[in-house]
């Protein structure tokens, strides 16, 4: 098993005929993803990389009812409509890669997903990866790079940063640990799926023993995760690092969501909440391997 994506994942890519789309599709296939269809309005009937293109997601699903995951890589101004279309067509997992999506668009997509019982990852997500099984998005980059960082294993990764997802996987690999599923939740403040929701999925996954998470200043994801642990919704070890302990209030750091306001979002507040709930908070990224080993050892005892 794994969460959200595995060997049974069948993908539709919206925006597949663009340069980025073709590139992405090629790399995903090399990493083992099965892409059933692509969607580009006006290009129905064509093929790209040997994958059939449809005008709409509904048409794609009619021809390929097995489609169960959508990837949105259209320009950000068109991303809202693409994602809502995908949800309306009945796809229950949609990953939005575009960044700088107006946040009202993200909130609208999330409202539609809620009503339809669909899961939205992103916007501004690098994607999801279950090593050896499937990939939705661009996590890990070129396949040779991906393999230097990710191997199959039993640790889940949740991360607000694409780069640090890979860095964490690399440190885990060096310490002998592999990954069940890695999820880049997106660097924005308003994202479809929060840590707490993902932790619940990892809790239910028999093939995940622990979760490693990279958090940072801004937003309420980390605090929500702490609440989920306290409520008993997640009982496995959670090993986290919170970036931005020395960030100043009011400034935005790269990710749209990485901002500390006067009264919330500070790294210190997040660390306190997580520690209080029983999560392991490390101070250095490279400690993740030893900390995870230690946590699992204690659990085994």
């Amino acid at each position: 098993m794994a969460i959200l994506i595995d060997e049974n994942t069948r993908i539709v890519i919206q925006g597949m005929t663009g340069r980025e789309g073709r590139l992405r599709a090629g790399m995903m296939r090399q990493a083992g993803a099965v892409i059933s269809a692509g969607v580009t309005p006006g290009r129905g009937g064509e093929e790209a990389q040997g994958i059939p293109i449809y005008d709409t997601v509904t048409a794609a699903r009619a021809a390929h009812p097995e489609i169960n995951a959508g990837l949105v890589i259209v320009p950000s101004a068109a991303a809202r409509d693409a994602a809502i279309e995908c949800i309306a067509a009945g796809v229950k997992l949609v990953c939005l890669m575009p960044e700088r999506l107006p946040h009202h668009d993200a909130l609208e997509v999330i409202a539609h997903a809620r009503a339809a019982g669909a899961i939205v990852i992103g916007p501004n997500s690098p994607g999801l990866l279950s090593p050896g099984k499937s990939i939705l998005g661009g996590l890990g980059g070129r396949v040779d790079m991906m393999r230097t960082a990710f191997k199959e294993g039993r640790i889940g990764i949740i991360s607000r940063s694409g780069g640090n997802t890979m860095t964490l996987a690399y440190y885990l690999m060096k310490s002998g640990l592999g990954v069940s599923t890695a999820i880049g939740v997106g660097g924005d403040t308003y994202i479809g799926t929060s840590w707490a929701e993902l932790l619940e999925l990892f809790e239910a996954d028999r093939d995940t023993d622990a979760v490693v998470a990279y958090g940072e200043i801004g937003g309420v994801n980390e605090e929500g995760a702490a609440d989920a642990i306290r409520a008993g919704k997640y009982k496995k070890p959670l090993i986290t690092l919170i970036g931005g302990q020395n960030a100043r209030q009011g400034m935005r750091f790269g990710h749209a969501g990485a901002i500390v306001s006067a009264h919330s979002g500070s790294a210190q507040g997040k660390i306190a909440a997580l520690r209080d709930a029983g999560a392991i908070v490390i101070d250095h990224l490279d400690e993740v391997g030893t900390a995870t080993h230690k946590a699992l050892g204690m659990v085994a005892l």
Binding site: G162, G163, M166, G243, G244, A247, R252, A258, I259, A262
Partner: protein, 421 residues
């Protein structure tokens, strides 16, 4: 986030049908007098700057007559409020307020919805009080919008009754309209003044999503950028231009400590900084600060920026005054690091034709084409300098910070020795 000035926000409210106090905008003290005479005394003079807590900074003054308006307006126009010079004053009738409430719609990251917030106690700071006592909230389902009954139920629950109930409901629904039409992060009336003639928006704050400004040319707003409640520095403006002129890859540059005052106050050493990836940049900063080095700037150059963009941003980072070093670190990245490195190398070769930097510099390349990137420093003679160190894939964030400290210690020692000789 981009923030409207108070009078611009009130214009939007007025156009939507939310009552605001009579007033006028002045750009000279004389205009302020004329505006006041038209409105009638007493008046309040409010500096128009895009920051909160103006009152505390002396940005809000009262006047009883034309003479007072002239002196107070002159005083205001000479002021600098949290880094903003005052070039516009809003002159308004001083209100006869029976009671003040708080009403806002905010994009709420916890619920991932717009949230209607009301408090019977106006003048509060919502960020200090969200979730606190005396605050009523209603999470709005975007598929439904905000219908009057929803707002009314919430207001009623908060203890509002009588004629105030439909009046405030009306305002809430119109506020939501403004929020949606303008891609707002926050639309706030604080306070809603309850006057004998009904509720009035005594002060208003509207923040608009930077990423949605492209659909609102009519607002005439510039990106609020990443700097928070202060204007952009000259060097940040240069960095922003570099980023805007080329969409290929990003260069998010923001000064944490523009004038070095923070480093001085905390006894830290100011350095230039660049990272590939926001996450690793934050993590690396958290390694550097405890060792005594405070990055003067934050910079994230990810998404495969062109080498030319790297060249330009590196020159910007190195131009910051007083820095005692430069640190570059990539996350384990699928970005083409040889490309990244070529830009940095060109900048260094141009700035240091003798290949001998005047400050200690540490580079760490991890990821795609990292070995090519590292080899480049050697090929161009940059590794001959005792003050350049280039690290590779097996270095950790911590290693990078420690390597920098070592170089910096040596650099300091050499300078002290040089000064004595």
């Amino acid at each position: 986030m981009a923030r409207l000035l108070e009078f611009e926000a009130k214009d939007l409210l007025r156009k939507t049908g939310i009552p605001v106090p009579p007033g006028g905008v002045a750009v000279t003290p004389e205009e302020a007098v004329a505006a006041a005479e038209k409105i009638g005394f007493p008046v309040v003079l409010k500096a128009q700057v895009p920051v909160g807590k103006r009152g505390k900074a002396g940005g809000i003054l009262f006047a009883e007559n034309s003479g007072e308006v002239l002196t107070r307006a002159r005083e205001l126009f000479g002021k600098n409020i949290y880094g903003y010079g005052v070039s516009q004053i809003l002159v308004e009738r001083k209100l006869d307020i029976a009671q003040e409430h708080y009403l806002a719609i905010l994009s709420n990251p916890a619920t991932k919805t717009p949230t209607l917030i009301f408090s019977r106690h106006g003048g509060m700071d919502v960020e200090e009080h969200t979730g606190g006592e005396g605050i009523a909230t209603y999470n709005i389902d975007l598929l439904q919008g905000l219908r009057p009954y929803m707002a009314m139920d919430m207001l009623k629950g908060a203890g509002i009754s009588g004629r105030a109930l439909p009046a405030l409901t009306q305002i809430a629904v119109k506020l939501f309209d403004i929020y949606r039409k303008n891609d707002c992060l926050l639309v706030e009336i604080n306070p809603v003044a309850m006057t004998p003639k009904g509720p009035l928006a005594a002060d208003a704050r509207i923040s608009v999503d930077d990423d949605a400004l492209f659909r609102h040319p009519e607002l005439g707003l510039d990106e609020g950028g990443e700097v928070g409640d202060r204007p952009r520095t000259q060097i940040e403006k240069i960095a922003a231009l570099i980023d805007a002129h080329d969409h290929r890859g990003s260069a998010h540059f923001v000064q944490i400590d523009p004038d070095g005052a923070l480093a001085k106050a905390e006894g830290k050493i100011s350095i230039g900084f660049d990272g590939v990836g926001t996450g690793v940049s934050l993590a690396a900063m958290d390694e550097l600060v405890p060792l005594g080095f405070l990055p003067r700037n934050f910079c994230d150059t990810s998404g495969n920026p062109t080498a030319s963009k790297m060249y330009r941003i590196t020159k910007v980072i190195l131009a910051q005054p007083d820095i005692e070093g430069y640190v570059f670190i990539s996350c384990l990245s699928s970005q083409q690091l040889d490309n990244t490195a070529r830009g940095i190398v060109k900048a260094f070769l141009e700035i240091y034709p003798d290949r001998m930097p005047n400050i200690p510099c540490v580079f760490c390349f991890r990821g795609a084409w990292d070995e090519t990137a590292i080899a480049m420093f050697e090929q161009h003679g940059l590794t001959r300098s005792p003050f350049i160190r280039v690290l590779g894939r097996d270095a950790t964030e911590r290693d990078v910070a420690l390597a920098f400290r070592e170089l910096h210690t040596g650099w300091r020692a050499q300078r002290t020795a040089g000064a004595q000789a």
